[in-house]
Subunit: 205 residues, 2 copies
DNA sequence: CTCATAACGGGACTCCAGTTCCGTTAACTG
DNA sequence: CAGTTAACGGAACTGGAGTCCCGTTATGAG
């Protein structure tokens, strides 16, 4: 009598179950980009996905749960780091990647929704933290290489430099109406590189 | 027969109307800090404020409307800029002010809620943009002074420098679980100052 | 002070997001 | 290929968020 088994979808994850997840996540992304997080309706998503409303509620429970799963799906598809040979070049590549993602109507809306969801649900917040932790760790080595080359002082917090690239882009997306263009991405990269070289991210400094 | 007059509260804004607004905003802030944006219930707020549920719906309509008004109220109370004589000192003062605000349980939760609300309602987003525009304009002169002193190159986008101070603090609040301490505030200020002095925020650079 | 009516408050009502029930379909096992 | 049961899907149900109605309070003008 093991208490009613695990969550649905974990025992028989193949075939139909996988198809349902895929089409529901697809529909959820579409709905988010169209209506935004607040006006998200699970029944509407079920309709779009051509899936029973009950199924959506059973497997994801709430809008937050669905958004968290969507985030997991995004984390799996995110792009690998590229290398250019210089700190500024690497940070610029990262900044432009972030900028393109946030400027894209669908992806941008999705990120906004994910952030909104994370601000009001601890579990979703944790999923978001993990997502960014992964992304930051993916790009951090380029700062370490810059330290090794002597561009950046020893003891610099490599993760913080990567965060410093994304931060102004996020801030702009959320707190201003301005569009995110390539120039703002380049500026973010340049500022982060300059601050890093000046030793602003040296630990305990 | 002027079409049903203006919004309630605009014709007789004194006495009771003002008291109702004050106690409802107070209650809304409390509820936000306690339950977060998603689980906000206007009926609960009405109960806390000892005000009729109908009144809250009539005057603010939705959770978003209420949050937007709360934002307006916050904007009126925000602190004036201080001056220390150096760019780093001024930016540090700003960074610590932001850090203290976001680290405060009540204020921090409120900001998270406001951001969440802004991501899903254009009107609320605009209120948020105005709020930040005001705050940025309040602090921008300290960068201009630094330009005049020759600390920072001519042509620097003064507003962008101020945004660069807050951005990493916001980013940290939203995307990591780490606490916002004074050290992170100082780091943000130092990074912004270093980047500004290096000319990273020169327009068209 | 008096009056007109803006704004509030209680309670009944509506409507739909979210739940429950149970029959049907199709993964996985041996 | 047959049997077990995980997972799905339709339909009826429910609770509470948001609306409506109308009587009451008290603001601001004259």
């Amino acid at each position: 009598m093991r208490s009613e088994g695990a969550d649905p979808g974990t025992v028989r994850p193949g075939g139909r179950t996988a198809r349902v997840r895929e089409s529901v996540l697809q529909a959820a992304g579409d709905a988010l980009a169209e209506h935004g997080f607040a006006h998200l309706d699970l029944a509407d998503i079920a309709r779009r996905a051509e899936v029973g409303k009950t199924t959506v509620y059973r497997r994801w429970g709430t809008v937050n749960g669905l958004v968290a799963d969507l985030l997991l799906d995004m984390a799996e598809q995110s792009l690998p780091r590229t290398e250019t040979g210089s700190l500024l070049g690497d940070l610029q590549a990262n900044a432009r990647l972030v900028q393109r993602t946030l400027a894209d109507p669908r992806q941008g809306a999705l990120f906004k929704a994910v952030i909104a969801a994370a601000t009001c649900e601890a579990k979703t917040a944790e999923a978001l933290h993990r997502f960014y932790d992964t992304r930051v760790k993916e790009w951090a080595p380029c700062v370490q290489q810059a330290i090794d080359r002597g561009e950046v002082p020893e003891g610099t917090d490599v993760h913080e430099v990567i965060r410093a690239v994304s931060a102004p882009l996020f801030y702009r997306l959320l707190t201003t109406g301005d569009c995110l263009d390539e120039a703002s991405a380049d500026q973010a990269a340049e500022a982060a590189a300059a601050a890093a070289c000046a030793g602003a991210y040296v630990l305990g400094g």
